[in-house]
Point group: D5
Chain length 162, copies 10
């Protein structure tokens, strides 16, 4: 059994039942809906108690339930560059604005990255008379580059900056 | 003169003066810092009054000033996939989570996209005892797919959903 | 069930019945034929009443009908660059003329894009003694780049232009 | 001398003079503005009388004038997929709608293509209270696939179609 | 049913019967053998009377016969660059000699292309004591680039040429 | 000195003098014009006496003359897939028709290839009331796959074929 | 039936019987083992008498036997760059040493190539106290570039060389 | 000034002086040699005191010194896949063994990654009579995937495992 | 039967039994767990006695057992660049640090590579109050580039180095 | 200074002097000509005494001499796939025959590779009345995959093989 076959089965059942993701994520609960949907689409893992609930909801076999609890091979849900317009727009944001984001984050936080592992994302509808907006709140842990061999702690101070 | 030569010149001056982006964006003002830095890195346009201020600050020629006012060929600041870890992490978020974002946005808003043109992004430092976090606030206009020929307005109602 | 399996089934029935797209789109109605054909080929969504009509016409199952109502993962109908000559010619137009289109649209409309979401396209046969022509009428909403932080409205006026 | 160096020189002069494309194309005249701009951006050829006018306007050398009269190596003005959002949207239209366009054009015209060589395109601003629109009129010659060996003219008639 | 499945079935029958392409193309007749073989390999369309004959020859179903009459999604028969040496050699000819062909065709014919839609190709064995040769005769319609807006017909005359 | 710099110099002189390729190839002579133009564009080699003539014609230095006599790194004159429409059409012919060509050549000649090294190509204008045509005559040596270890000469005879 | 399915079947039988390639190639005989193994892996053709022997050995059907006699679409046995280390090392040799090989072969033989069609390769174990070595003997026909139009035979003599 | 120009200058000086990396890293000190060499090759940042020492050693300008203190656009030092054999071997290890590493790390640590930001690497020569070995010690922080919305801490316990 | 089908079967059984890799590798034994897991995932070979044990454990058929003993086509377990974050981080390390590793290994060992064939890797959990770490110990044989024709042993000594 | 600039300089001098590679490699001596030419083309390293001789021959500067003694970033001399026909033919051999070579080498030597680091290659002209041949003799060390954890030496014996 492959993870994408499980995803296909889950989508077939969702379609048949006429369930929304909102209904499904509330039934399973216990984690942000982005993560639960991600797991059902084969990109995330469900911890055991949630895998149990998902299996009960969708009437999955024992082995399918266990597969939901496995860490999938991530990044298989969309080709890159994404051909789907909705996902492409996010890709474009990164491509066009990436250099500016890098400059500003590094100036504020120093050398490092924002984690793509320890981050949270939430979507919200922002009503707007000119057309509603998608409001996104993200928060990711900043991980500073570690300078090994610098245990004595030479700091990054010296020549002036404005 | 190419836009990337102007970018290189601006970075040389920034380095020589020891200016931070914070200083530069405050001096120029009038627009979010992501957009001003984006323009100075050759990915965005500065409206004329801001181009004047930027030219005065960096001591640019008349022609360089006018170039800052032009719409650049966007998306040239980073190869895709990005090789730089900071930018790659954003790319990875889109690749891994894109399918779930698509599912949830479409369920909430219907068929369409979040605009990559009419959107705002703001970075903030979120202090955290386990390590500070990068907090990102984004808001993009939702653009529904237009179904032409459907002017009489056949709505998307009918078979049941939970 | 995958969307491409549904597409294959629909094409099998179309072939068996000897139906033209004209016949099919008239039977389903309610939307431009480009969009209906796009949906039957797995690149667009049919709103519920049209999905009902399509399902009745093709004798689809309940689940297949619902799938027609789902937003598909768009952009999967042709590899890029397109190997098929008919589609490639459009690709070539964009590649060869893109820079000129960009220059002219930006000069007329300012910084922004023509929407690929809110646009209409219509094909028509243009009789011509030297060989009939494909006449295409397109109209897409212009979406100006939003300059956040520029709420006070600094306009793009200043140094002269001819 | 490379064509892209000539393009760069022309853009430098345009910027310095503060000329719009409208002004330039009116000065040169004699051909659609898409083609003149395309030539100045290195993707099209100017016939000799227009090359003379362009050379006079921009103060080009004899050799630069002659280069404008040469057929360039086309398709070098934008990487594919285009990273610039304005051009990308056209690319996306082809990718998402290409299969439907193919189906409809072939049904109407038979086996063949719309020429990317003998086609005209015109842009127009379409005022609209919800936001102005880019109106595009295109017309391309339909070129039927030639079936050699079929000189006796076996037509494509036979089994029925609706 | 997919076109490549039909191709596979046709090749199975050809193999089983021990038929040569020569035999097959003579049986079907009415079009050049390159086109008939191309259609049976899924890259070309057969007009209805030829599809009838092909169906009779291979014992195809009604639906398979109709599929032969459809315009396929062309260009799917070989990956590019071609890995097969026979096809690669043609690819290499284009890659190595393309620039010279372009220079010579444009000098003789002006700005335009040789059509890949209205062209004929014939293979012949050319006996040669040093090893027989493949003799190829091609003829394609020259399609001049149309310069719209140049209806008054400004010709490409002016500065001298040798 | 790089070969492409020599090509650029030669094209500059050609442009300045207003020479056609016809004039140039007649002046140099001694080889087909496709090969001479190919060499001047950096994709072929000129034998010494022709390099002498080319050097005299263009006023090249001793070292530039010698470079014309070197075998260049071929295949650098056009990116693949070719973005220029004229060259792309040839590429498309190979992509769309390659499988049929392979089938027919192998049936006639057996297992092997048409040489891309020992082949000749000639272009000719074919007047035609419906629009002139590019007539191409090609002839390439057929090279049979050698089956080593088969010195005793087991022939490819046996089970029947029609 | 696809050639790769036949390859899979042959490998299944080989595995089941516990046969070595040595045993198989000796049983079939009549051609170098590289070619026989290549054919069984779907990259080469077996002449009819050898196809008979292979079919008898593996118990193949009539149609499978005939498929072994067909020229396959070559180059499908390994993705490029090869991910398998054994094959990659050969790829690397070409990539790293290709320019030197080109320089030396051209100096010795003149302008041309070593045929990849008429060449033989043999592997041998070379015992060595520091670790046995793979000894490879290759011999390929040199094919000189033909300079058409040079029938009068202008030789490549003239300016001096050391 | 671009970072790669600074790298080139540093390598020129290193070559001229005949300095080894060992000498250079000892002179600069204060950080692991992998990081210092990485910074001098344009892939890492030197904190200000080390940038001062590097600038003094190499006789750099003020602006070059400051550039060493900037976070570079990482990942530009080697194309991927790496063409150089030494670096390719590491790439191959990841490609061939990646799936096994993933399986074992996830079993031991749970869902997450080994940081490429907070990791240390040390090389050592391991004498060995059969040929010395490169001994590598790496240690990277494990970063568990954060399951947001799971603040109440649903653990990953439940169905049995051996 | 394809190797990836065997891998899928093994993973199905592992999931069904609830076995950990630790349990499986201990049951099979006789080789490092990285290699055993690699073989079960289709990237490595198991010697016959271990294939026997694996077959007994998983209840494999005779042919499946023999397949485990075959050298697979390696490198098929992960696309490159890896989309899975855990494997990508290793890829990134190579991309960002490759040039520095190359410089340091070559300075210490001379011209050559670290073998990707004769190397060992071991993972260990390194407890750390700030978050446990993945500790990796690798050791690979250094293979010096052989300079053939240099049998008389010209050493790499001469001009000075610091 | 970049290695490719040194290569360009060396080729300029070679051309100016009219030296053959044979002359150059004999003058420098002490290593196989493939390696010396490879070094002068920027893909190999010359040991110091040979770098001295090469520098004397070409009149190089001290720094250029030292650069010849550095290990270059290999694999930069040809794009892959190679566009030059001479090098492409070797690439094709690997692509078409790779699977058969893998099968035969592994059967003879076991699991492992032929080294691309410790291998020798020699070219020779093989006179042949049907056209001279390029004779290549290669010999590369076989490197067996090391199975760590298998120190007790479980051999690969067991189930029968023919």
């Amino acid at each position: 059994m492959k993870r994408e076959e499980l995803t296909e089965k889950i989508l077939d059942i969702k379609r048949e039942k006429g369930w929304s993701w909102k209904y499904i994520t509330e039934e399973i609960g216990g984690m942000s809906e982005v993560l639960i949907v991600g797991a059902l689409l084969g990109q995330m893992k469900l911890v055991k108690p949630l895998a149990e609930k998902a299996a009960a909801l969708f009437g999955l076999t024992e082995n399918e339930k266990r597969m939901l609890n496995e860490v999938p091979y991530r990044g298989t849900g969309t080709p890159m560059p994404p051909t789907d317009p909705l996902i492409y727009r996010f890709y474009e944001m990164v491509m066009v604005n990436g250099p500016a984001w890098k400059a500003l984050i590094e100036e504020e936080f120093g050398d490092g990255i924002m984690s793509a592992i320890d981050f949270n994302i939430e979507f919200e509808r922002e009503p707007n008379p000119k057309g509603d907006r998608v409001k996104i709140g993200m928060s990711g842990k900043f991980l500073p580059y570690k300078y090994y061999g610098n245990e004595q702690g030479i700091p990054d101070y010296g020549f002036k900056e404005v």
